[in-house]
Each structure stands twice: as C-alpha cells, then as structure tokens.
C-alpha cells in the first residue's frame, strides 16, 4: 500500500497497472491505493482524505450479477450510495425490432433470467392486445400461463431468499432455496423442454400443450416445495441473528415507495396492497382465490416474510390451476386463427420432440396452400395493426410493463420493457445512506434486483 500522488515515487506494485489511479482525478487531487492491510493503518495513512469512496462490484458476489455500488463511507457508515449499471446491457429491445412478433418471446425471456415466463407472458399479452384477440386466447392457454407464472414466482422468490441468506453467511438457506427451486425447474423442463429461456408463451397462446401426466407430476412436487418453504421459514423467521441483521434495515416508507415508483413486495412491506393481479387483472386472475399479504414495518425482514407468504399464495393458485387443467384436457392452447397461430404441431419422435410427421406429411403431400401458409407465417410472420399498447403484469419484483409500438408491420416498431428491478434499484441510495456498510448487502438483497432485467 502506498500513496500515489502524482509527484510521489512509484512503488513496484504500481507498475502492474497501466496508469496510477491518481491520474483519474487530475493534478492536485490526492489519490490513494490500498491492496490489503489493516484498515486502521490504511485510514491513518490516508489522513487528510475527507471522502473515502469504495467501489462495491461489479464483480462483488453480493451484487446479484454485475451491479456496481459506489459507496462513500465514513468509518463503517455509508454516507452516500450510488448505483452503476449497464454492465449487462445486450440491446435486447433493439434486437426485437429486427425479429417477427413471435420471435420476440425468444428475446424477452432472456431479460430477467430468474423470471423468464413473466417477460414472455407480458409481451404476449401486449401483442394480443394490439391484435385485438385478448378474448380469443383459449382458456386452457391462460390457465397454463398462470400456472407457469406462479411456479416461476416461487422459484424466483426462492433464489431471492436463498442468495439473500447466503450473502449474510447462512449457506444452508441458500442450499435449501436452490434445492427447492430445482423441483420447480424440473416441472418447467417437463412442459417447455428447458429450465430457463423457455420461449414457451407465444402470441395467441402457448407453444405446446402440457404433456400427459403433467398435473400429477406437479401435484407430486408441490408437497416437497412446501416442505422446503417450511424449512426456510424455520431457519430464518425466528433466528435471532437473522432477525437482528434484517430488522429495521433498508426501511422505505409508503410515500417513498410511490415517489420512487417502487412496486411488488417492497411496496407491500410498506403497507399498500397494490398487486397488478388484483388491480388490473389479466389472464383470468380475477377468477382465482388468493390473498395479497402486506406488512407495515417496511424493512428487509418484512420483505422476507412477505416473499415466503407470497410463495404459499402462489402454491394456492397453482392448485386451482391444476384442477382447471384436469377439467380442460384436450382443449386448444392456441388461438383458432391460423393467420396468427404459430404452426407448432409437435410430436415425440425417435429423436425426442420434433415436428409432427403427420402434419408434415399433410402439408407437403396434400395441401400446397398449407405449405405456403406455414412457410409465410414462419419466415414473414403476421402483421399487427398500427398502434401502441401498454401491458403490465405482477412480476416477482414488482410491476413489469411492456410498451409495444407497431407500425402495421410484421415486427415490433419498438418494444420497451419497464423492468421492476431497474426501477427499484433507484431506491438503493435511500435504503443505504446513513446505515452500516454491512447493511448495504442486506438492503440490496431485499430489493432482489436481477441485473439481466435491469440492463436488458
């Protein structure tokens, strides 16, 4: 460790970097570089420094990916906290402008990688709204969507709780959380073929019907998930260390939530029962029986309790979905309009899942028009009437909004996703300033940001 003001002698280790850090600040500003050592000594040596700015991330394990936190600290107290994002920006929205409306699901599923089915559903609901076919989506497709979203909500909350515990040193919370999530990912694999990045929900319905015996498989998995949730609750909720780490940390009251546009569990921890599933129902949520849990302490502990509570409510919805799925076996899962429905006649062949040979035989051998239609729909896509729409759904992290603009063509003119993680990260400075450095980890974890969604 050494002081590297511009006129100070260069120490050997400084030669490793291409330029001394002091040059970042210009002449006259003292720079200071520390690599290891006792903090008291470092602080003594840096005497005269009034501001100590610490970069936490973008590779810090507690930042859920590549979030960069710029903390100005005074001893152990955070006096200023700012976020730096954009390290995971991949231009998904721009990419969607160069693909057909159906191909769009393949892109938006990769945004928030812990809740892929929510992006897909929101995007498809928006597309259906533009097409004016909201009422034509088959009942069974909506039930499957709701089932998948609620399972996904549990999986996402499990990761939030698990990694949140891990960041505080509670490794068992993490292993239980991920083990429970595994059960749900197996269900996803059974129905979509993939554990994430499903591209399963499509404009007009879903890609393929649930396989035979799927409801039994879900019914068998639910008690296990419930058991793991119980273990998580036992481990966390009455644990004195856990409680003292989380209680009164990261407090954001109701007015602050509304001013900063915070939604989801963080808003509900401040006492407002705003839930898009209740306020602006979609996919038939008004017909399901479930509660929206709230709390009033507005701290990180309340958010953990609420997320656990929401998992149980989601499982309650899943059970209602299973009943409806059993009642509608064989019903269509895609709109009847063949000008929109993606031709997905699939069958299990000798090499796994693929196109149905009967369907291929029919379009290749007997119907030239069907072949042309298949080709046009897959390569060109369907046109969507010019206009714009705004569709929101209740994402595990808050309100996910999709703004879709069509110019009448076969590709979105503009697709914008209002990701709840992106918006909620704005609250980091309010949650962290004035608190301890160690509480930053807890406060950020209570927002549950997923950087794939933040940066898109």
């Amino acid at each position: 460790m050494t002081s590297t003001a511009s006129d100070a002698p260069r120490m050997p280790h400084a030669a490793r970097s291409t330029r001394p850090p002091s040059e970042d600040y210009g002449p006259g500003v003292p720079g200071f570089e520390a690599s290891g050592g006792d903090w008291d000594e470092i602080a003594r040596e840096a005497i005269g420094e009034e501001r100590i700015v610490v970069n936490m991330g973008p590779q810090h394990p507690s930042t859920h990916g590549v979030l960069r936190l710029m903390l100005e600290i005074d001893g152990e107290t955070v006096t200023e906290a700012r976020c730096g994002i954009g390290y995971l920006h991949t231009g998904i929205e721009k990419n969607m402008e160069f693909r057909t409306w159906t191909q769009g699901t393949t892109f938006c599923t990769r945004m928030d990688y812990l809740a892929p089915l929510f992006q897909e559903t929101a995007y498809c609901l928006g597309t259906e709204r533009l097409l004016g076919i909201t009422d034509d989506v088959p009942e069974r497709a909506s039930v499957i969507r709701v089932l998948m979203m609620e399972l996904n909500r549990v999986a996402s909350h499990l990761v939030c709780l698990g990694t949140g515990g891990n960041e505080m040193g509670a490794t068992t919370v993490m292993t239980i959380g991920f083990t429970a999530r595994e059960e749900i990912l197996r269900l996803f694999e059974a129905i979509t073929g993939l554990r994430m990045n499903h591209a399963y929900v499509r404009p007009g319905g879903v890609a393929t019907d649930a396989p035979e015996g799927f409801t039994d498989q879900v019914r068998a998995a639910l008690p296990k998930v419930r058991g793991y949730l119980g273990q998580l609750g036992d481990l966390m909720l009455a644990n004195p260390i856990f409680k003292s780490r989380l209680t009164d940390v990261g407090v954001l009251n109701l007015a602050g939530c509304f001013a900063l546009g915070i939604t989801g569990p963080v808003l509900r921890s401040a006492g407002h029962p705003y839930d898009v599933r209740k306020a602006f129902p979609y996919s038939g949520y008004e017909t399901y029986d479930f509660d929206v849990p709230t709390d009033t302490t507005a701290d990180s502990y309340a958010r953990v309790v609420l997320r656990l509570e929401e998992c149980y409510q989601s499982l309650k919805i899943v059970e209602q979905c299973l009943q409806r799925l059993d009642d509608t076996v064989g019903a269509p899962v895609m709109v009847a309009d063949k000008k929109i429905a993606w031709p997905a006649q699939l069958a299990v062949g000798s090499d796994g899942q693929g196109n149905s040979l009967d369907h291929i035989r029919q379009i290749m051998g007997t119907s030239m028009e069907a072949l042309i239609h298949h080709f046009k729909l897959v390569t060109e896509g369907f046109g969507v009437p010019a206009g714009q729409t705004w569709q929101t759904i209740e994402h595990p992290r808050g309100e996910l909004g999709v703004h879709l603009v069509s110019d009448g063509g076969t590709r979105p003119y503009r697709a914008h996703f209002r990701d709840p993680s992106f918006n909620n990260l704005q609250a980091v400075s309010v949650l962290c300033e004035g608190g301890q450095v160690a509480d930053v980890v807890v406060a950020v974890a209570s927002l549950d940001p997923v950087l794939g969604g933040v940066d898109r």
Binding site: G132, T134, A259, G261, E380, W390, D407, G409, H416
Partner: protein, 252 residues
C-alpha cells in the same frame, strides 16, 4: 420543484409545429423487399400506414370524465386545455363498431405540448379525481418520417386509487430534442429519463443528472434511434455474403 414553477421556467422557449393528425408511413409492394427484383407482380401496390387518429367524443368509459377534470384543473392554473393537450387518442383494437362502448383493452393517450408537460403531470398526480400517483417510467420512440416530431417520449401513469391507466406522449423535433424533466413531479422518472436520453438523445431539461445509464459514458450516438448504424459486418459463407441485419431484405 413544483409543477407551476417548472412550467414558468421551461415555457415560452419552445416553438411547436402544428400537430399532424397521425404518423403516416408508406409501404410499396407485397413483401416489402426493395433491393431485389419484384417477382410477385404486386410491385405497384402502395399501402399507407396510419397510427390511430384523434378520438371524438364521447371517448367512452372514464375517459371523458378524466379529460374533463384535467381541462378544469389546467384552466384553474391558467393553461388552456387546447394548448396543453394537442390530441386525445383512444386506441381500442377490440372495438368492432363505432357505437359500441370501449372494450377492457381501450387505452387513452394524451398528446401533450412539451412546454405544458410538467403542469399536466402535476395536475394528473395531485387532483383528487385524477390521482395518477404512480409513474411507471418513460419510454422513447423514434419516428424518422414524422417530420418535426421525430422523437416521442411516452409516459405511463397509473392511478392506484381509481384503478386507471393513462399514457402521455410528448414529441420534439430532431433539431431541438428538448423536453422538460418530470422528476420534480415523479422522482421515479429519474433513471427512466436517463435511459431515454441514452437510447434516443432526448434532452430532459432540468434533470438533476442526465448521464448515460446503460451505455458507457463515452459512447457515440444513441442506439435505439432508427438511424443508428447497426455496424454489423457482412458474413461470408461458402462464397455467398450475408449482409448485416439492417440492410438485409425484410418483410415489412
């Protein structure tokens, strides 16, 4: 910053062109291909694309009441409704006949003159009959063919109290890409406006720190604009060349 102050600070300096009725684009041919020979026989086909036009009264549902209340509140502040709101659009793709009421999917859009944007937001947020207390952010759209109104900033507002949703749309020309910031009314729009600046180059006047948010600080250009070069390189494969995506043949 209150809305009233914001309005006086930013007002006056803007010179808006007359609002056009709708954004219009023209398509030729059957398949949208322009760089190859027309083999379909439909090369002479010309199709006009129009965005939803201005709505006529009654708008239906709660739309009339909300617009009336907004006009009243703006009038009290000395802003004529016609000056502040250029156009009211109701987009309802499920409405099949003219005399049918709005469907559940109907969406109300107010096209707001940019010098009155803050006043309109303030009125929408604070009046007890409007109460659009939750802003869900800003998104930009670029219409290079919409002369004088190339850049659009779209604001998504939600009234949790009344369970209503409303969209504000503000336009500005490419030559003068300035829109007043709404962070004084909705602090949540801070990052969303930064994102819109980053991707579209719309300058939000009065924003507390209008820096790039997703792209690196020294990035040239604004990537979501339609005229942004994609910079793809042609790929050669077995002697043939595949052009970059923005110059490829496309079907719309």
């Amino acid at each position: 910053m209150t809305g009233g102050e914001g309005r006086e600070v930013v007002g006056g300096g803007y010179d808006l062109p007359e609002p056009t009725a709708e954004h219009v684009a023209e398509r030729t041919g059957m398949f949208g291909a322009h760089d190859t020979g027309d083999t379909s026989g439909y090369g002479g086909l010309v199709r006009t694309v129009t965005m939803p036009p201005a709505a006529t009264r009654p708008y239906g549902g709660w739309f009339d009441e909300a617009v009336d209340v907004l006009a009243e509140v703006l009038d009290e502040q000395g802003v004529a409704f016609g000056d502040a709101v250029e156009r009211v659009v109701v987009f309802d793709p499920r409405r099949r006949t003219a005399d049918a009421g709005p469907s559940a999917d109907a969406e109300l859009t107010l096209y707001v003159a940019r010098q009155h944007l803050v006043a309109v937001c303030q009125a929408l947020r604070d009046d007890q009959d409007l109460r659009f207390e939750l802003s869900l952010g800003v998104s930009g759209v670029h219409f290079p063919e919409d002369a004088g109104r190339e850049l659009h900033a779209v604001y998504h507002l939600t009234s949790v109290t009344h369970a209503r949703r409303l969209r504000l749309e503000v336009t500005c020309p490419d030559s003068d890409p300035h829109v007043p910031t709404t962070t004084g009314v909705y602090p949540t729009n801070d990052w969303h406006e930064r994102e819109t600046w980053d991707f579209f180059g719309i300058v939000f006047d009065g924003h507390p720190g209008l820096a790039r948010i997703e792209m690196p600080d020294d990035w040239p250009g604004h990537p979501q604009r339609k005229d942004y070069p994609l910079g793809g390189i042609p790929v050669e494969y077995k002697g043939a060349t595949i052009p970059p995506p923005d110059t490829r043949r496309q079907y719309s």
